[in-house]
Subunit: 268 residues, 4 copies
């Protein structure tokens, strides 16, 4: 049991401050980054042609390390004080978000090995490779920045849901009207309401690629009015996320306290 | 009269908390959503070709239900405590925004039936179909988010009107100058001041489709200066809407109260 | 002299509340709007071909009225309490902004009549016609919204100048670097540093027309970094204008007052 | 030693208020501006063809003056009270940011002279010419606006690093997903993940040039969702910079002080 405790402290970042645990943390972070870089570079044809073998080796090495990591984390889960109250500590850990991410980081590799025995659909294999992207999320364990986003999303959940509802409502209205206005003039571009929604998103986020542009006078008048008034609504969810993060980064949660003298609330 | 009271409570959301009233509310919301989805999917040619009959059935079913709903709401209007003071309670309800929306949700169907007796202009029929969009607004009765926008618009009415005036003034100035500068170089694109206004809106909202681009040196210098300084003004109405909504979503209306000690105003 | 006093009160908006003065104010505002509409519509070829004579009549009528207005304002200037202290009251009024706008609203017409006697450069005549745009500014006398902008510009002058300096510096740096990076790959588009500045403005204001796009890898990396970090700086002057206006529209100038109890500053 | 003190006061802006020192400051600022203008205009082929000799003379003159300036600043460094505590005052000054900028403003010229003796790679010469851009940074000594940016960057360093990390993470995720979704449909545009990142930056900053546009239905749905939610995150570093600068421009650093009465914090 002492060994399990020792291994747990090695793996859990900031649990113990020992040199060895820091080295292991660094190794794992480096390996995740290496995987991200590999995924990115592998997509560049010229690079993949030359370094394909190297990428396979990284893949092989990563899966070995991540599998050992996963096994050790499951094994040492009972040492985690968070699960002290539970009976099935390993199961409890096994269904936590980070553990599932860990599992799906290695699972696709084993699945693709199993599938290689029989000829299968190439697209299925592609999907399996896409799953490797999940490894990027392993970094969440070490990146405080991502915990921040999670915290903001939880805190402002209600507001974000409400503002997304606004946006969907606005987008449906705007796209339907624009479809009826522009369809006759540009039947190929404004071919249907879902197609017109692409115009709506492009315009209301002010991205404006320019692949769909209203051409009729009425369409331009409506499009202009929509842009001027709708941009603010479309900026809401992004703004909520952004202001939530800024609040966290500043460390102020804007709590107010009543003044015992006047009863007015004061900044704290 | 007891029946009328009972029916009123069934229809009015959150008036009674009974199971039946909630079921009816859910049924109506589902039907509105079904209509929205139908309007959207009907516009996709491939889908419409296959499911045209199905959409007609939805249409038929919706009109029946919405007609019954409209009739019952008019019938039960005298039960509404809001109209307790009025004599012509049904008329009073009949001219309310929601009632008119309800009426126009079904009227086009009856009009199009009446018009089918005699051959009419196809474009007129199209306009009638467009009216079905009004059904989307029926959701406003159940969607708090839309009441919010209404509240914000009423609260900041003055500011929005003023900032829209700014924008119109700025747009006229900017487009007129740009027209005189660019017309000779690109007579087909910058063909008139109203046409140049499309460029103005595109640029000042930063959408920038790229269908109209100043090409002369003077036009680019002016266009650049206009973009840098004008963008802030064009963002005003959207910003007012957006900040108004954020205030409501946060639940703080920024009231200030005077401190009895110092006379300074405090947050409440 | 009583007549002059009476005429002054008629012309000066909100000076007297008489019916006649309000009628004159309304007439002048209507005439200015008519001129704006005329300038806009005149630019549309199809409309101008049909209504050219009508536009000439509006022009003729406007010049007559505006000339009378100008003459009367100069004549009644000594009645203005603002100039009570000055000796040359009419001159003092004559060099005020609004008076100069009034003068330049009519001058081009007289100049163009004078020039018609001798054949002149057509472009010069065009410039004279462009001067008619100044009439749009006559509306400033009646539009509180414009006084607001003026007030904001005066208040935040220093900030706006500073932030425009930032922008110019940033634009020069960014465009010079981008020119050296992209010139070889796209010598026709990124032909010189001033030409590259157009790209800089387009990108940093996020308008992004798409007529100039970096194509080299280095150009895209730099362009991306520039966009991510520079957008905030380019939004500064617009943001200052916008926040200044919002402050005015809210009516709060964010003055702080010291609390006699604790010495801390309080909102007032 | 009196001469050295006198020269130091002449060169150091705002050290002494004498006429001569102000004249020298003005001369140096003018020369820097002249260099900036020369760099910009030299890139315009038509202008360079005519004024090439003139630009060479400016270059020659600037290098002479800047070399004298650099030598004098090194010579007078021991007079600077900032280095009073150090032993190797000249070295201490020589490795300061401004001194290095001064050095690199003249060095390329001498290097290019040295290289002219032997035929070298033309691209290398180009890089040397690019170094002249560093002269633009010499203006930092006189421009308070740039000190401001520096101060903001130092103050908000942590936040900017964190938000840039967000962005990089978001960009990697978004681009990888989009690459897998769009690669088959547009193998030439979405050719690799790094190439898709250009789309990601373009879209998330809302620049939207329109050279890379998702064409598949899934790509558009994902692209739209990414745009709506991601824009806020991408605006973070720019927003932090911008708000930091606005705070400085307003002169308020948002310090809070505790109220001795109620313990609540108050604005100061």
């Amino acid at each position: 049991m002492r060994l399990r405790k020792w291994v747990f402290n090695l793996l859990e970042p900031s649990a113990s401050g020992s040199r060895a645990s820091k080295a292991i943390e660094l190794l794992l972070i480096t390996l995740i980054f290496l995987n991200i870089v590999a995924i990115i570079l592998e997509s560049v044809k010229e690079i993949n042609e030359v370094y394909a073998d190297f990428f396979h080796e990284i893949e092989y090495f990563s899966v070995v390390i991540f599998t050992i990591e996963y096994a050790l984390r499951i094994w040492t889960a009972p040492e985690n004080p968070k699960f002290a109250k539970f009976r099935l500590k390993r199961l409890q850990y096994g269904i936590s978000t980070m553990s599932i991410i860990d599992l799906f980081s290695i699972l696709p590799y084993y699945v693709s090995i199993a599938l290689n025995l029989v000829p299968v659909d190439l697209r299925f294999i592609r999907v399996i490779r896409l799953f490797r992207l999940i490894r990027v999320l392993k970094i969440a364990r070490y990146l405080k920045a991502l915990n921040l986003i999670q915290a903001v999303l939880r805190e402002r959940k209600e507001q974000i849901v409400l503002s997304v509802m606004f946006i969907v409502f606005l987008l449906v209205m705007v796209s339907t009207i624009m479809y009826y206005v522009e369809h006759d003039a540009q039947p190929e571009k404004f071919s249907s309401i879902p197609a017109t929604m692409w115009w709506g998103i492009e315009t209301l986020t002010t991205v404006g690629y320019g692949d769909m542009i209203p051409s009729t006078t009425l369409g331009r008048i409506l499009g202009g009015a929509i842009a001027i008034l709708g941009i603010g609504l479309f900026a809401l969810p992004a703004g909520i996320l952004s202001s939530g993060l800024t609040d966290h980064l500043h460390g102020n949660k804007k709590k107010y306290k009543r003044c015992p003298h006047c009863g007015g609330e004061l900044h704290e």
